[in-house]
Symmetry: C2
Subunit: 431 residues, 2 copies
């Protein structure tokens, strides 16, 4: 005990204090949250969660704006999200779609949140409608595809599948829970890209901001067996490549009631037209840049999920890149009017061709080979016209391509009319 | 003398020195050059001086580059300044222009400095050619128009006028000597603008950098009496306005040798197409911005007077506004290919129409009213096609307008073919 001098006592005291401090620090550090990007999610969202309201707790701005697609009804000059009946505004469509369900009702569509209600109320629905028609209408799909497989999903009748489908288009259609990265959820798109040798997993985020729209905004068809959803992209995505694919597999959507031609009904090929060397696509602009422009809420920047026509808010949609928004909107109007005027001429030519073929077919001693040529030209003309007519931008997505295609369609429609005339007897005069 | 004290002497001396200084300063100031903008011209150029070499002493950069138009032979994909024969590359033109001098020779034109030599060597020249054909070929014109009046100038036979015409296109065609401001020198342009209620004297300099090109790069015609140079702009400058004007005055350039239709031959309506709501024109871009881009020579900036295709030097022509020149040139190629492909389809339709009309006309008992309708459609189709074909940009000056017009032209050409078929006997089948 004698050896415990004052100095030793002081040194020991210091050591004890240091040890206590060290232990305290270790304890403190152990209980610190680990460093990470962003903020903690409020809820953990399950993969393929169908209910967007669950995701919405973590992403209120995105969710709130998605909800706005239910009521964002705005009519633009040629489209928008107000459900007008196209065949009433343009009765030529009744002749052009004779024999197809679109002649019984061709409503302009509403925003994403109404997709489910609208598909259930379309007059084109029948007992034969396959479940495939739900493919682009619900955020329940990714989970159902994973559980059932797309083949079984598509083979289920529409009305039978209805009980499993509760939610309209939502977060799960484009996002992976957790990482929130953009993903291809529609197996048909994944397969179509693979057939072209493309793997979307290697795409950049900016590319995905276009590609996820191709989950739905594309031309597609159902196979005759099993109504399997398929994109006709094996030879490429231009209208000529798609036509060539359909010809090769001998496909048609319907027989034209008046002309008797085997027809293709094109479905909104927005992605195909946009990516065919359009000025915006080639400049690296994504669908989302214009249709879901970045918006500020205080200090937060987010993609506006109230997806709609950029013409509804050009200051946000165009203004991010273009300084003179008035000039730009003026350009859109000029381009769309050129396309609209040209498209109306194409429709007149189609109606004339259909009438001439109908009449030739009713003529005794008609030249059957010439008549077949006329029908084949009718098919080629109308699928081109429909590529632009069914597309949702009145040609703005790609104006020079839209006008090129419409010019070819008009040419072919008039040639169909000529061939019909020749089939019915004019042939002798024009040899 | 006594009064001359030392002080007085000193004061007097000061006054004398000041007086001398004042006189010297006045003398100095009087001989100072007056303050002015710019530098003194080396030579005083007379108004309407025909010899560009005289102006060139004051403006060596502009003159040197103007001289380069003599040898700037560059072939672009669809044009350029190499004199190839268009009817050899595209034999459909021989049918389309049957009965018109252009079927005897349709050479691609060379640069401005070759204008005079080329017009004197064109195979389209005949003894009947009026002096009017010199209107766009020489810097002697402004002086001759002032001295003779345009009516007398135009009424003089081409070969007779030749002795008075020495210089190719030059400074005097666009500039006022002294001020060097841009002016309209062609009386036909002045009159055409006035008929539209426009006074070019009120135009801005940037507007004039487009308007002076309209001295020549326009659609025009010669009146049947006196070959008076006239621009058909009274109703406007769109193809439909021009067509309507020609119809109203009952004008035609030639009778088509094969179809018998009364035809309009369009001449390079570059100005009309460009100003019809093209994206560049509406954005305030002038012809000179792309075809005479600003160039630096040391500290001096000048408009390059080696007028040619912007594709020859896109870095200067496009790069002044567009940061990504490769992207922009890619756009030009895409647009021009769309227009070219569409134009080839129009030509095929025209050739088919011409053949069908020719055959119908040779058919006994032809329906004359239907035949007249076919010819009228041939005229309407071909003048539209020619509006784009004769224009010097393969549609790039205004792509959506070019494609709109070509689509309409194809439609009309096929309708002409149909009407001819009906006239020759198909009519009974298609009523």
């Amino acid at each position: 005990m004698k050896k415990l001098t004052g100095t030793t006592l002081i040194l020991t005291g210091i050591i004890v204090v240091m040890a206590v401090l060290l232990v305290a620090m270790l304890f403190f550090l152990r209980n610190q949250p680990t460093a990470k990007r962003g903020v903690d999610p409020i809820v953990q969202v399950k993969q393929m969660e169908a209910d967007s309201a669950v995701w919405g707790q973590n992403f209120p701005n995105q969710y709130t704006t998605l909800m706005q697609t239910e009521t964002n009804a705005t009519r633009t000059t040629y489209g928008g999200s107000v459900p007008f009946e196209k065949t009433e505004e343009d009765p030529m469509l009744l002749t052009i779609f004779a024999g197809n369900a679109f002649s019984t009702g061709y409503g302009e569509d509403r925003g994403h949140m109404n997709a489910l209600e609208d598909v259930r109320n379309t007059p084109r629905l029948s007992d034969k409608t396959p479940g495939t028609c739900y493919s682009c209408k619900s955020s329940d799909n990714p989970k159902l595809w994973a559980e059932m497989g797309m083949a079984a999903y598509d083979a289920t009748p529409f009305k039978e599948l209805s009980s499993k489908i509760e939610h309209p288009i939502g977060c799960a259609n484009c996002h992976e829970a957790g990482t929130m990265r953009l993903i291809v959820t529609n197996p048909a798109l994944d397969e179509a890209l693979k057939k072209q040798g493309k793997d979307w997993q290697t795409f950049t985020r900016q590319e995905m901001r276009t590609v996820v729209c191709a989950n739905c905004h594309v031309e597609y068809y159902f196979t005759k067996e099993g109504a399997y959803l398929t994109f006709p992209w094996e030879k490429g995505t231009t209208v000529e490549s798609i036509e060539s694919y359909y010809t090769e597999i001998g496909f048609s959507d319907f027989e034209h009631k008046l002309s008797g031609a085997s027809m293709i009904k094109m479905q909104h090929p927005d992605y195909e037209l946009y990516t065919a060397n359009s000025t915006h696509y080639n400049a690296g602009v994504a669908c989302a840049d214009c249709h879901m422009p970045y918006t500020r809420d205080g200090a937060v920047k987010f993609s506006n999920h109230n997806v709609q026509s950029p013409l509804v808010n050009p200051a946000a949609a165009c203004g991010a890149c273009h300084t003179d928004v008035d000039y730009v909107v003026g350009r859109v109007n000029i381009i769309q009017k050129s396309v609209y005027d040209t498209m109306m001429n194409t429709e007149k030519a189609l109606v004339a061709a259909i009438g001439a073929i109908e009449q030739a077919a009713a003529t005794a001693g008609v030249d059957e080979a010439k008549l077949a040529e006329a029908r084949s030209l009718h098919r080629a003309a109308q699928l081109r016209w429909d590529f632009i007519a069914a597309e949702n931008s009145m040609g703005f997505h790609n104006s020079q391509e839209a006008l090129r295609i419409l010019a070819a369609a008009t040419d072919m429609a008039r040639q169909a009319e000529l061939a019909a005339l020749q089939a019915a007897g004019g042939a002798t005069a024009s040899k």
